[in-house]
């Protein structure tokens, strides 16, 4: 309930703050017109509410912002150097990063942030499995990809620590990904739903039991999080 009220209130207050920023003055007139306009905007341009987690850690938020600034400077200088250096040999990569968050907001902010940090642009997002597909510049060999993937996951980690839900934090702790959980769930459902049918053959059932063991705790916390 608290999260629901917060989810409606935060965008509203954000709009009011934006209005006052645009006028560059913090006066009663700006506040009142801002509240009126924010109400008008949120009624006429109705958007489905973003589910906020209801928690915000200011310290990790600050860490995220400072690190983002450092990364922007580094990325800009790096791209500038790649563009200007004498012998440029093009070599890029497109790779997938399975994320650990289910929140749309954290996913979007991760995507925005990593478009600004060294060498990556989001090409596609698979929202169901929370997987980002990134394009990276100047990747000389396939061995460089794990390092890039680790950098992206570190960005997501900072965001989850700053504003992720308890569910996401749990997944962060155990190191499970949403895509892995979904696959395990699907395999388990297939194995449990139709045990004798021809489709659930031996390798499918075997992998379901194997992956069900190591991610059993994760899916337990996940269904708990969905209920609350």
């Amino acid at each position: 309930m608290r999260a629901r009220i917060l989810s409606g209130l935060v965008p509203f207050l954000g709009l009011v703050l934006l209005w006052m920023l645009l006028w560059g003055q913090f006066t009663w007139l700006a506040l009142i017109t801002g509240v009126l306009l924010a109400g008008l905007v949120s009624i006429t341009f109705y958007l489905p509410a973003v589910r906020l987690s209801g928690r915000l850690n200011p310290w990790y938020g600050l860490v995220f912002l400072v690190r983002l600034l450092v990364d922007i400077v580094r990325a800009s200088l790096q791209i500038a150097w790649i563009a200007l250096k004498p012998h440029y040999r093009p070599s890029n990569a497109i790779f997938a990063v399975p994320l650990r968050t289910r929140s749309d907001l954290v996913m979007v902010f991760t995507a925005e942030a990593i478009a600004l940090v060294p060498g990556s642009i989001v090409l596609d997002i698979d929202r169901d499995t929370a997987t980002l597909y990134l394009h990276a510049l100047n990747v000389q060999s396939a061995e460089d990809v794990p390092a890039l993937r680790k950098a992206v996951l570190a960005t997501e980690r900072r965001l989850i620590l700053a504003a992720g839900s308890a569910d996401d934090l749990e997944r962060l702790r155990t190191g499970a990904t949403v895509a892995g959980e979904l696959a395990a769930e699907a395999a388990r459902a297939a194995a449990a739903g139709e045990p004798g049918s021809g489709r659930a053959s031996e390798p499918g059932g075997g992998s379901a039991s194997a992956s069900g063991e190591d991610s059993g705790t994760d899916s337990g916390t996940d269904s708990e999080g969905a209920r609350t």
Partner: protein, 127 residues
């Protein structure tokens, strides 16, 4: 008169001028790098990198300089709003353009060392 006065020019070149000079030159260099990157990079996806990132730094440098040299509430809030919106819209625009480029095959596959999007398991290239 400023307390710190370098004054190594005939037109009163002080610390504020020095800061402005450094930041403006940095921004100009970033703009130049973006232009060169646009010309040199081989495909749309590479050019997107050149188009998105250097400008952010250039703009942050310039706007921070303007805000610092004319320090007031109105200037700083406006500067924050400018950087916030540029930082929010530039990646979104890059993402839209990149996705369109990928789906319409406007990229060179021969310079990719890894490609996990074309070969992903449920490879339905929704058009």
């Amino acid at each position: 008169m400023n307390p710190i006065d370098f004054s190594f020019g005939d037109d009163g070149f002080d610390l504020r001028d020095a800061v402005t000079a450094v930041l403006v030159l940095l921004a100009a260099l970033m703009c130049f790098a973006a232009g060169v990157g646009l010309v040199r990079f081989p495909d749309v996806l590479s050019r997107l990198h050149a188009a998105t990132k250097p400008q952010i730094l250039g703009l942050i440098a310039i706007v921070a300089d303007v805000a610092v040299t004319n320090l007031s509430v109105g200037t700083v809030t406006l500067a924050v709003a400018i950087i916030f919106f540029q930082g929010l819209t530039a990646p979104a625009a890059a993402h839209m353009t990149g996705r369109a480029a990928f789906r319409t095959d406007h990229f060179r596959e021969d310079i990719l060392v890894v490609d996990e999007l074309t070969s992903r398991p449920d490879a339905d290239r929704r058009s």
